[in-house]
Symmetry: C2
Subunit: 339 residues, 2 copies
Amino acid sequence: MPKKSNGRVLLGHGGGGKMTGRLIRDVILPRLDRGALGPLPDSVVLNGLGSSIAYTTDSFVVSPLFFPGGNIGSLSVHGTCNDLACSGARPLFLSLGLILEEGFPLEQLDSIVTSIAAAADDAGVQIVTGDTKVVPKGSADGIFINTSGIGKLETDIRLSPSCIVEGDEIIVSGPVGNHGMAVMLSRAEFSFDFDLKSDSASIWPLAERLLELGDGLKFLRDPTRGGIAATLNEIAASTGKGVRVTETAIPVDESVAAAAEILGIDPFQAANEGKIVAVVGKGLGSKALELLGDSPLARDAAVIGEITTTNPSKVVMITRIGGSRIMAEPSGELLPRIC
Amino acid sequence: MPKKSNGRVLLGHGGGGKMTGRLIRDVILPRLDRGALGPLPDSVVLNGLGSSIAYTTDSFVVSPLFFPGGNIGSLSVHGTCNDLACSGARPLFLSLGLILEEGFPLEQLDSIVTSIAAAADDAGVQIVTGDTKVVPKGSADGIFINTSGIGKLETDIRLSPSCIVEGDEIIVSGPVGNHGMAVMLSRAEFSFDFDLKSDSASIWPLAERLLELGDGLKFLRDPTRGGIAATLNEIAASTGKGVRVTETAIPVDESVAAAAEILGIDPFQAANEGKIVAVVGKGLGSKALELLGDSPLARDAAVIGEITTTNPSKVVMITRIGGSRIMAEPSGELLPRIC
């Protein structure tokens, strides 16, 4: 059960699940929503600027700052690029806002900025504007990074849950839960030794291939906070249709499964930072996998389920032993500061 | 003398003066600069997107969160709009990234978001995409806000220090130092009672009027952290020319002057959040003031000085008693968390 907030922000409000949704819906949106562009999305398509532009923002507060497979710097580039990619836009320009805590080691800052530069080069984006603030010791936790990003829509396809119909197929581009599990394991309180690293990467190359499906591609999402459980529930909630997935079809690396077992964390609720969930037309799942083909970013990509008319607004998972259960939306308190 | 950093971030690195410049130049830019767009500016003009777009980002960490004349919410809208306006761009779209500390009162959040909405309506911008993160108690100071913004260049005029030549005139759109002094006075440690509030406002209406000067308008800047001393030194440094201003010509409200005297703060180094410094062609100063005309945002606008070939890269102020002295670039340690 979610805790009572007593009029205060709770840690769970930042988890990306039900509580985050409630905070945004109840406190933030009623003040900001002017109707024209709807609720503040991860990424928005802007018209009226001559060419179609996607725009997004994301703040990064991950703890620890360095984890196997990346750090807050590379993550801040990949996360924002991936929100643009999921709009169907090629990421082009990023802004970089740094909030530094007094006393933060310049050597770590240098290492983080070096990762930002390498990730940007790798993703083909330019960091074009920036801002740096410093707050007194104790007023922040080392470094927080905000990146916003501008991308260009190169096709007329507009991805939206409203395009989704019964029979559409759901794919995931690879094994799930790696980022969340890598960050959890790198926290000081755990001392298990797993060969496991974050999947942090720009997934635009995958989105670009899937866009070749034309209007057979309905929807893309990067399953970050709250994992694929949050993304699948978002699809069910926003379409009002049912989502049915098959547990054995969802790829999970052995090391992730083992770590999840020990830590008592559902890998389907653990964050991903280099994966994509796509909804494609009926019968197009295998074509989508073919398009993803031999990309190293799409190792073990799979069709994991489909859209149904039964169980409206719910995600039902056919379990390993053949039963079925609801895959609930994460409440959000499980994995704070995962990105 | 600036403190030695011993390899760590110091509070002065965030003051917007020399130390900030050094941090960005020595630690951040060498990693990020890819040559194409030069050092990370406050705001950048993006080409290749069909129409000319200006793009900027700013993080806000002001303390206290509420001050006479505004709060961190309205400030976060005005600050980003003003960076766009100083590129000569009409502000159109903002993103909103919130970092909340666990335990932050929802009532304060509501009040801040309400101010954001009102400021956006007033400035004619839409908030179109957002992100909310929560960090544990003690890992942030209440709330930090990042806004990034997209504006549209409506003329072919490209404002740049490279357009500035000897004899050009410098104007300021009104009395200086109000924001910095209002925030300092509202800190708990001071208990003086002045009738003094922040000038926080969107200055696009002023920029729009000045753009009517065509290529007679050379450069615009909102003199925020470090005040007009930082802006004038930026002009001197980036042009390699001299800047000469007359102390008695620079408008300062009586209450600001009195507070500055008591606190020992130079009002020329105190932040402004609703003012504009403009460089216009020789002989165009009075025409610029005429264009600003009766705008309530431009009360007491004045021509304060000109560009010289003497004293290259320096700002020289003719003092009240007729002498002259160097107006130094603020080192940055004076006024932390002013925006």
